[in-house]
């Protein structure tokens, strides 16, 4: 049982890392960025591509991939979000334009085989691959009957540290205060001399970099990298997480991530893998209907 809780915490950290980026954009821009899961996937794909196709060591590859994902965030901002803001379009339009970008990202990877236009990025089409063995040393520890894999432990530590850093930045730095001001009231923030467009761009950069990191950690730990990991594994679960935690609330997303991890692992233990897959959506549905402000009661005005 303790082993299961351990697994729950580990998968929960990935959910949380992914959902924090999701919820950050929703909190600041009021936009549901459905391209976030495609960026998650590209985080894993770019790292894999640099390691397996271009022979780079893992660490620099991971850093480059995270930066690439951040830049993709800027692409999302400039292509899908800013033109709509200029027209004062309703937030729903942004949801649709980010779906468009997600379609493009996934299709590019999915259609890439050796000899095609994007073979420098990906050569396995719709197939799932894993990092070559030995990319990252993975010592296994045995502590009182528990098995702890080194990579999973590392992922847990990285996620927790990053989320603490993000929490610190949001609360105690000038950037964080500016971000919260924009989230609170865009017009008042502009009047106070905050460059709102720059805040939006940096929000997208940070959010997408976190998404990319979550993706590459997912690919590393679960040995599953394919064009569909974003869409199938985390996109809708990420939605469930941020709804559980209250849309736009960062602590809520973190708690929601671990909670979903726990719910899933226990559903799996109790009812098997078929039920595990559906339980996130049942939770999502129930929370939205019974308690739309989220389980942890984030007041809508104080989301960040």
């Amino acid at each position: 049982m303790t082993q299961q809780v351990l697994n729950a915490i580990f998968i929960g950290s990935i959910y949380a890392l992914f959902a924090v980026g999701y919820t950050l954009v929703f909190g600041v821009l009021d936009v549901l960025n459905l391209a976030h899961s495609a960026v998650f996937m590209l985080g894993a794909v770019v790292t894999y591509s640099l390691v397996a196709l271009h022979g780079m060591p893992f660490l620099p590859a991971a850093v480059i991939a995270i930066l690439v994902c951040g830049l993709l965030g800027l692409l999302i901002e400039f292509v899908a979000l800013r033109p709509l803001r200029r027209r004062n379009a309703p937030p729903i339009s942004a949801l649709i334009s980010t779906i468009g970008l997600a379609l493009i990202f996934v299709a590019i990877v999915e259609q890439a085989t050796s000899g095609s236009l994007f073979s420098w990025l990906w050569q396995d089409g719709a197939n799932s691959v894993r990092f070559p063995t030995g990319t990252v040393p993975n010592p296994t520890y045995h502590v009182g009957g528990l098995t702890i894999e080194g990579t999973k432990l590392g992922i847990l530590i990285i996620s927790v540290v990053l989320m603490l850093v993000l929490g610190y930045v949001m609360r105690f730095t000038q950037v964080g205060r500016a971000l919260r001001a924009v989230a609170e009231n865009r017009r008042a923030a502009t009047l106070l001399g905050i460059n709102v467009d720059r805040i939006f761009a940096s929000t997208l950069f940070v959010s997408s970099a976190l998404g990319g990191l979550a993706g590459l950690l997912f690919g590393l730990a679960l040995s599953d990298i394919s064009p569909y990991i974003g869409r199938d594994q985390v996109e809708l679960k990420g939605l469930a997480v941020i709804v559980l935690g209250g849309m736009g609330s960062i602590p809520g997303a973190v708690l929601g991530g671990y909670l979903l991890g726990l719910i899933e692992v226990f559903a799996f233990v109790r009812f098997g893998s078929n039920v595990e897959a559906g339980v996130a959506f049942a939770a999502l549905f129930l929370v939205l209907v019974l308690r739309p402000q989220g389980l942890f009661g984030a007041r809508l005005r104080e989301r960040l």
Binding site: N88, G100, L103, V106, Q111
Partner: protein, 300 residues
């Protein structure tokens, strides 16, 4: 280009060669009608794929186990989709905007992953073989259904009901202060949308020998959404044009067939960023006439 040349010089040959494409266009047109109804009342619901699944599975399961004629099976399928639409709508329609979209996505996936993949009668992950499939005979009912449904929904948008939907879409508060029962009218739109989607699902089993659970995921709903957005939703013709255009597109430009999603994505972004206006509603008249959105932004 050959595609169009053949369409005009040899319509019969064209029909024979592209029967399945035509059937698929018809199905997608009906799905476009289904999403149009909720769009027209100002709601972004993404449950269509779930209702399709209900229609399709009911039809196939009934033709497997009951001696009823196929049209009865299909009717039951569509009605069951509408009934479940009503039950789902009761809690869900209290939500708005993004939350409504997310809740309906949750419904689609909970239905597919939670119910369809776990109940033995649906064949679980394996899907179901469909004994009543008749790909060639199935086209005629589809081709007849499209104009009939189009006409019915077009008429509907010009009745009191349609005007109430338009009023809710433009301004929910103003509508309700004018005595329009907003929740009831929203529910009617949602149930009609579910009925049409269920019917499309039932019709589609005609042309497929197999009912595959992966067909009814959120991806399908997003495809349907694309039809409505690209075609515009001022009137029922818009989404149908979108469905016809986007379904036929990969056939027209064969060299891009592999990258059809890239093309779809680009079209989606262009359409939404170039035509979206400052109104609060999901869709506005300016979505099909971009020149109208050039007015000064409102103070909101």
């Amino acid at each position: 280009m050959d595609f169009f040349i053949q369409l005009f010089t040899d319509p019969v040959g064209f029909y024979n060669q592209h029967e399945l494409l035509i059937a698929q266009i018809g199905i997608n047109a009906i799905l476009a009608i289904s999403i149009f109804v909720t769009f027209y009342s100002g709601q972004l619901t993404l449950a269509n794929a779930g209702f399709m699944a209900i229609g399709a599975y009911t039809t196939v399961i009934m033709s497997l186990y009951l001696p009823t004629p196929l049209p009865v099976d299909m009717l039951v399928g569509a009605l069951l989709a509408a009934a479940i639409g009503f039950l789902v709508g009761l809690p869900v329609l209290r939500l708005r905007g993004v939350f409504l979209a997310i809740a309906t996505i949750g419904f689609v996936e909970a239905l597919r992953l939670g119910v369809i993949l776990n109940v033995p009668i649906t064949g679980e992950g394996q899907g179901l073989k469909n004994p009543s499939a008749d790909p060639l005979g199935g086209i005629l009912p589809i081709l007849i259904s499209v104009p009939i449904l189009t006409y019915l929904v077009w008429r509907l948008t010009h009745t009191r009901l349609g005007q109430a939907w338009a009023a809710i879409r433009e301004d929910e508060l103003a509508a309700s202060s004018n005595g329009i029962n907003v929740p009831a009218y929203k529910m009617v739109a949602f149930v009609i949308s579910a009925l049409v989607a269920g019917y499309a699902g039932a019709l589609e089993t005609h042309i497929n020998f197999f009912v595959d659970p992966t067909e009814y995921s959120v991806t399908r709903t997003i495809q349907i959404l694309t039809f409505a957005v690209v075609g515009g939703t001022t009137n029922v013709i818009g989404p149908i044009v979108g469905a016809v255009f986007l379904t036929a597109l990969p056939e027209i430009v064969r060299q891009f067939a592999a990258y059809r999603d890239v093309v779809n994505g680009i079209i989606l972004i262009l359409v939404i960023t170039l035509t979206s206006s400052d109104r609060l509603a999901v869709c506005t008249p300016s979505m099909t006439c971009p020149w109208k959105s050039r007015k000064a932004p409102s103070s909101a």
